[in-house]
Symmetry: D2
Amino acid sequence: MMKLQWGMIGGGEGSQIGPAHRLGAGLDGAFEFAAGALDHRPKEGRAYGQRLGLAGDRAYGNWQEMLEGERSREDRVDLVTVATPNATHFEITREFLKAGFHVLCEKPMTMTVEEGEEIVRITRDTGRICAVNYGYTGYSLVRHMRAMVARGDLGKVRLVKAEFAHGHHADAADADNPRVRWRYDPAQAGVSAQFADCGIHALHMASFVTGQEVTRLSADTVSCIESRELEDDAMVNFRMDGGAVGRLWTSSVAIGRQHGLTIQVFGEKGGLRWAQEHPNQLYWMPLGERLQVIERGEANLSPEADRSTRVTIGHAEGMPLAFANIYSDLAEAIRARKDGREMDPAADLYPRAEDGLRSMAAVFAVAQSGKEDGAWLDARPPMFR
Amino acid sequence: MMKLQWGMIGGGEGSQIGPAHRLGAGLDGAFEFAAGALDHRPKEGRAYGQRLGLAGDRAYGNWQEMLEGERSREDRVDLVTVATPNATHFEITREFLKAGFHVLCEKPMTMTVEEGEEIVRITRDTGRICAVNYGYTGYSLVRHMRAMVARGDLGKVRLVKAEFAHGHHADAADADNPRVRWRYDPAQAGVSAQFADCGIHALHMASFVTGQEVTRLSADTVSCIESRELEDDAMVNFRMDGGAVGRLWTSSVAIGRQHGLTIQVFGEKGGLRWAQEHPNQLYWMPLGERLQVIERGEANLSPEADRSTRVTIGHAEGMPLAFANIYSDLAEAIRARKDGREMDPAADLYPRAEDGLRSMAAVFAVAQSGKEDGAWLDARPPMFR
Amino acid sequence: MMKLQWGMIGGGEGSQIGPAHRLGAGLDGAFEFAAGALDHRPKEGRAYGQRLGLAGDRAYGNWQEMLEGERSREDRVDLVTVATPNATHFEITREFLKAGFHVLCEKPMTMTVEEGEEIVRITRDTGRICAVNYGYTGYSLVRHMRAMVARGDLGKVRLVKAEFAHGHHADAADADNPRVRWRYDPAQAGVSAQFADCGIHALHMASFVTGQEVTRLSADTVSCIESRELEDDAMVNFRMDGGAVGRLWTSSVAIGRQHGLTIQVFGEKGGLRWAQEHPNQLYWMPLGERLQVIERGEANLSPEADRSTRVTIGHAEGMPLAFANIYSDLAEAIRARKDGREMDPAADLYPRAEDGLRSMAAVFAVAQSGKEDGAWLDARPPMFR
Amino acid sequence: MMKLQWGMIGGGEGSQIGPAHRLGAGLDGAFEFAAGALDHRPKEGRAYGQRLGLAGDRAYGNWQEMLEGERSREDRVDLVTVATPNATHFEITREFLKAGFHVLCEKPMTMTVEEGEEIVRITRDTGRICAVNYGYTGYSLVRHMRAMVARGDLGKVRLVKAEFAHGHHADAADADNPRVRWRYDPAQAGVSAQFADCGIHALHMASFVTGQEVTRLSADTVSCIESRELEDDAMVNFRMDGGAVGRLWTSSVAIGRQHGLTIQVFGEKGGLRWAQEHPNQLYWMPLGERLQVIERGEANLSPEADRSTRVTIGHAEGMPLAFANIYSDLAEAIRARKDGREMDPAADLYPRAEDGLRSMAAVFAVAQSGKEDGAWLDARPPMFR
């Protein structure tokens, strides 16, 4: 099978996100790293790209150069990943989509709801793929949770409980550290800090797993470290369009928790519990029976789980493989288009521009509700109301 | 050491709570079961009391008889436990306090805030002890958490996260079962179901551990099983008088959780996590260090922990011993009064009438806030505002 | 129901074992503490007994006095617990049995196999109960494991894996501490240290759970701290009379393990795993299905489990209640004899003199095999070969 | 950095091991898949290789063709992975080493000790790398354990406890399934089944972590399913050349355990515990202190841990990354040779031919000891005695 050609913007030398994307894209051999504009400093970006094996004429100095260079090639890249600073996601994504490229955009997809709506309109107009990197949904057992809910194992979902709470910004003495401070500064981070950074992963996962979208929410946002203008802890209650009640806690001052992305789903006929720190086990209690441990890789799971697992039961799989599953979905989506066939429905799980837009609407609703003493607000983007 | 004399009202044959109290009171040999009015049916109560070893003249037919009988005795009981149906707690507790007895009342102490205030006034006027049975605070490591916070190990407390979520009322088919239904019926249960039944344990524990009282709260209450008038799931955000932010989740439809009483406390200098299902370990991360496991019974814990532990490290202790610790506190409190000395401060931890009153104020605030879309309400009883 | 009269030898002021027995015997109200010879110093023992509430004439100065005093009383004690130093267990137990008392003897029951056989013969001749305190078998879920095996849930048992490994004697600097040293000194401890102290609990549990007796064994014993003459770590392979293979590890130098009593049983049709540190969960995987969590107190467990549980599901029970279950068994056994009826078979689980004897035979076989490079030796007492 | 050229023998379509190696070799972008003889059926192998992207002239029909084809090329492969059936490892590895290639051989490296010694001699004579794929040693925290022991954190190691116990061959009804049966048939599997398949991973890990080699051992081997000629369960006691005592349990009938590779190391100054199923946490108790949780990716770990970690703390890493670390070591080793420099000592951790040989000697010693009632035998290959 011919490899697909893949390009990247951002993720320069020393970044964490660059190697993660290259690892995810390359892991199954579906994508070949073929082009890049890796650094905001043109010279450094070109040199680093070549050290990573890019041809000299495809190691670009900036995204504009890359757009020009690639759009005119026969063998232009099949997918562009945008991993630049948050404020630039919108413009780059928009321009590449308009030029007919498929895009995988790092989260947050945009800085405003209006921008998000524009991206959604462009994807609809152009028919291009715009995926957003909610990588935690790539875990095999998260996909199995979704499949279990979808096929009715839980009955009607009553309640979703999601958490993304860590303690890595808990040190008041470190609050002025520039590496931390910008996250809590509205001038740089926008209207929300911890919810926008971590909470939206948990909120997207709640939607992903239940197959329901958030309609209304009420938020209690606080800055436990007082010098911070934006929140470092938030509790969000919400309602979903299929009737589920949601509760989401996110924190960056929860000392003792390393990562703390967990999701629990409770339905009429059973309850599920999963935690990112031990992603290879899923706890399932059917109503009136005992708690069971579902193991990643066990026999007779869903097609969605089977497709997204690579090693045998009992051997741990981690985040890089979850990430790779997003790329694997995209490879299948792109190939299906090239081949003029339907894509494998078990791969049709990558997060969409619509998800990126919904997250942005939720971020603004959380920030506003937090200011209004927890007022219940519409969490939907205007175009979906 | 002479045993103290102990009496009980309620807890008749077949009840769960009766044996639990007799076990707790008798476990350390501090109390002798000396009198009782165990059943609302006088004949059955007298017979059962005698089968349990009570003298014929102290196996009473009802609480009024017992009040009359005991008040006139030289060797009258030192402590009366009230474990009757909820709606009768107030009257019985009031009358025994007024007659000069010390009382341990099952929760909820009263059905209204006004009644709660009356009990507090009586205890203040009479100088009698009125304890309320929040038994989970008796666990050795819960007491150690409190001691760690009090001595400053966590610095200023920023955040408390409490949960009491189980799935034992999740079966819609069982919702009409009278054993379950009354709990969700306002005519029998009052203004709140799950919060009043379980949530107040978690809320009291948040106060117990932080040494702070709840001032304001906002609640999101839902009935996941629609036939229920009262809530089976609630999320409560709150603020405490020492500046801590609180978040409390309680549920009876969380299938897969057996008990789910957990508490996490996050301060400037570290974070703590404890769960009732594995009560012999406490997880502690000092800021910037690694997560540590504090074991019940290890050397050099606090006096509060040492006093409330009975078996060596590595051997599990469970709920009955936590319960016994409340009785042990009361025995020390009563003996100190008899001896005219100060009581051991490490035993001065039993929940007070004031705690029972605060819980009742919180119950009404939660119910009201739930009706008002999560409005922030004063959670304090009027007499403490 | 009349309380049974109970007496104790040993367990003086400051001991750990004294309070544990009083708690266990008193917990269900079946036994009344009526007589004792609590200290090897007569005066102190009498005074302490009276402080604990014994009548002056039943607070004895030594066991011989107690034997004389009690044997002549109408209301003599129904059960005598022997909790004196190990070397004295045999003589005291023998004399009380001969005088017609029922006895609960602390482990080890004797110091030699010959003494053990003598005790067994006396119990058979006199018809008296001689129980040995392997208290960990009192846990509700351990009893349920036994019931599951007995009713065939696992099919034929293939393999038992038992561990009792802790790190409390791992400090070389502490090895000369008299509190530790005597345990590793043959003059005081006999032929074995760690196996005799902890290993026999695990070995007895393997027999208790499988319903099979050990026939042959091979041991690898080592002194990790070289100054010790007796072993601080041992691995024992064994075979059982029902065909099961056994593997047992015991250690006192396993730093990081607090207690480490665990048992795993693997049969043709499923596997079980239990750990003393979290005794309220039992892990069960039926062949070809998922791992399940059996909770203490859940509905529809065995009669043996139901009888030995006191608090509702989700609330922890610990070691003191396990201990109390041994006393509860004995109370039922004694009452059944008094009433001339069959005892409840679900209570007929207390460890016997035969178990104490088998342990002693295993101790000698382990010590000998350890000296003979792991030679396989008969582990049965001569009288059972 | 130029990619290294990599070739593979075996791992044809439908195999599990082929994708695992391609994933591991490709994950960091250090190796390019350039040549292969993937199937014992030449036509299928050539076609599959081309589908995987190999050039037509480097998609070989068998290993002999590949040896001829590659040895004459300028751009011959830098590393050959041998992932063929066990009985062919020796011959292929030998011939490629002799022809001057570096080799990564799947385990077991050979079927006899003599063959193993021959491989070791060839590597010494030719100076070529011969690595053996004990992939579990690639986990970041396993490498950190080794570093902690090496730098003295534990003091002298007293005891190693290793387990590799699963239940995937526990179904007697499945014992005749050809997919399972061959493993227990001496004609196909050699002298040992479960120990040779899984036990040697655990034994190698014991050596890897302690930096000590096994000298003597005693084994108890059993066939729990009676129709099996070779063992499905074994307990091995051993001694190491640095004075450590070892205990190793391996089983394929332990129903309820998925994988069960765990290692515990106990030294004078502390104890460590790690389990493959949750590989991102390492439990460490320094003598006299509390149990601590070391997290993969935390700050200030060893260079060995830092080099072998790819994602941030709190995000799980799994087996594929461990596997990739072996390839990463080899890439560094090969590059250092090309560059004429010393390799990074933190990468010098890949298992050697000597390790493969030692495993084979242990396999024969275990099989023989098992037949001789657990006799203690020399576990070293003759050339290392």
